[in-house]
Amino acid sequence: MIMSKANLKDYLTRSKNLFYVPIVILFFIPLLPIPIYVMHVLILSLLFAYLCTSWAIVSGFAGQVSLGHTCFYGIGAYTTTLLFHYYGLTPWIGGVIGVAFSAVFAFILGYACFRFRVRGPYFTFATLASTVILQGLFISQSQITGGELGIEMPYTGSPLFFQFTDKAHYYLIILVLWLGVLFLSRRIQNSKFGYYLFAIREDEEAAEACGINTTKYKILAFVLSAALTGFGGVFYSQYYLYVTPKAVYGLDRSFQISSTAMVGGSDVWFGPSLGSFLINPVVEWTRATYGGTFYTLPLVIYGLLMIFIGRFLPGGVSGMIQKGLISLKGEEGDQKGRSQ
């Protein structure tokens, strides 16, 4: 006997530990008889939650809003695909290289912007323009990249090459990735690194006066966020086995990541994921159910929701929930790092 019944009950009712139970359950979902389409939506939602959480590290915590994060997504996806396509290099290694490229690109971009003390909007613009330029670049180099039509990943179905015949395997991988980035984000939020990022977001000059090397930390956050996003791109290419410039570098994708994260609440570790799980399935469902012209009406409403949240709910949906919980419990909780 590992624990007596009484101990088990006690263990579970302490809220921190209760948290781990649903996580364990998540791992067993593939054992249930769920339709392939649902599994697909689950995988996409998890991937999206992963991307949004990664984005929030630099844009939510540090306040350096990147609207071109798909740069790194695309670099990761294309590097893996191209290396496998032309050199037969296994995506396990190709993926690591893709992540490295993403990190390097982020470093160059971040260094250029932050070193010269260019203000927030400039950085945002630089990231925007980067993803657009990359899209153009990959479209134009069509002999190598397949241009607009994209490039296919040779199908092997072999785990050696990061390909699986059973969707469940993809599910497990993205689940682990998502949980990983979630815990990382939470860890950061409660660490010196996180505190410094929040300080930078709030008031850069005051942060400098507190001994914070703002340039260093901004670059660090950006590179970390980029590397994580890059790996998301690697997963994407291995899952879809087909990469096009529009899909990975498109502005729509970039705006989607940013807006979903902000709707959920980009200043807290679980906010972006919340946004992703709330929004994505709904969007997918309306698209499947309505089709035609009408599926865009929910998007109009979604747009209005964004405007409403931006204006009145800075913490996003997660902020609303936290505030609700606090008023319910009646205690003055410490909303670490929240935007109000």
């Binding site: 609207l67 260019v118 203000r119 400039y122 670049l137 134009s140 109009v300 747009g303 931006g310």
Partner: protein, 288 residues
């Protein structure tokens, strides 16, 4: 080869005219309010639809519709500013961006719902013709775009430098506190600037409507170029916007000119990265 090159240059300048007005519009708003209107391309899209419906339902020539569309968008600008933009000017960047993404969604998808995804076009005979100066072939439609874009930029310049109201706008953009202390009503100036920027876009929309297909997502394409132009030319700089537009236009035409388009884009990419590295605030931009 020489002939083609010159034609390419001409095409480039003409292409630049297409994006110029949006870039100038975004910079105008940024200069006064330090906020980037990411939805500016969508404003252009709305303007194009207005021109389309005026033409289709009332037979109004898009060029003649310019004052009408400009007026409509001016009013629209005032309403939009008062309801959405003004309340968020002091909010952190993140929240502003979310709001603009929301606006993009609302505009694009409202257009979809109202007018469907069908590509529409206005047929105005003169625009498909062209002037030929010796060996150079200049489509009239695009020429008109450029001429009117330059004319509006010039008119704007004159307005800002010579008129009282214009000087107030410049003062507000340079130092809002000082301007306010001098008795300038900053709120009205901001509303005016925003509405003016949209009206300018309306003018451009009319000139573009006979040339481009009109559909709900056309704004994105224009946005993309505007963003690149502003990155290159510098945020907040009108001259930068004009120069940047020409440069981007050149690159675009050279790409289609050279048989090996991939090299041109790669070079453009390189230039872009270099500018980012050494002048991230853009060629004419201000460093803080």
């Amino acid at each position: 080869m020489n002939v083609n090159l010159i034609q390419g240059l001409v095409n480039g300048v003409l292409a630049g005219g297409v994006y110029m007005t949006i870039a100038v519009g975004i910079n105008l708003i940024y200069g006064v309010m330090h906020i980037v209107n990411y939805a500016h391309g969508e404003v252009l899209m709305i303007g194009m639809y207005i021109a389309y419906w005026l033409f289709t339902l009332a037979g109004v020539n898009p060029y003649l519709a310019i004052p009408i569309v400009a007026a409509i968008l001016f009013v629209f600008g005032v309403l939009l500013h008062k309801s959405v933009i003004e309340p968020v000017l002091d909010l952190p960047l993140q929240r502003q961006i979310l709001i603009f993404i929301g606006l993009i969604h609302v505009f694009q998808n409202s257009a979809m719902v109202l007018w469907s995804a069908d590509y529409r076009s206005i047929g105005v005979p003169i625009t498909t013709e062209s002037i030929t100066i010796s060996f150079i072939y200049i489509p009239i439609g695009k020429l008109l775009v450029l001429i009117i874009a330059l004319a509006s930029a010039l008119a704007l310049y004159y307005f800002l430098k010579k008129t009282k109201l214009g000087k107030f706008i410049v003062a507000t953009s340079q130092d809002p506190d000082a301007a306010s202390a001098l008795g300038i009503d900053i709120r009205r100036i901001r509303t005016l600037t925003f509405a003016l920027s949209l009206a300018l876009t309306g003018i451009a929309a009319c000139t573009l409507s006979p040339i481009y297909f009109i559909f709900p997502y056309t704004g994105t394409d224009f946005n993309i170029f505007a963003f690149i132009i502003i990155t290159l030319g510098g945020l907040g700089s009108y001259t930068g916007a004009i120069i940047g537009s020409i440069i981007v236009g050149m690159i675009e035409s050279l790409v289609s000119l050279l048989s090996d388009a991939s090299i041109a884009t790669a070079v453009a990419f390189l230039v872009f990265i270099l500018i980012l590295l050494f002048r991230p605030s853009g060629i004419m931009g201000k460093r803080e």
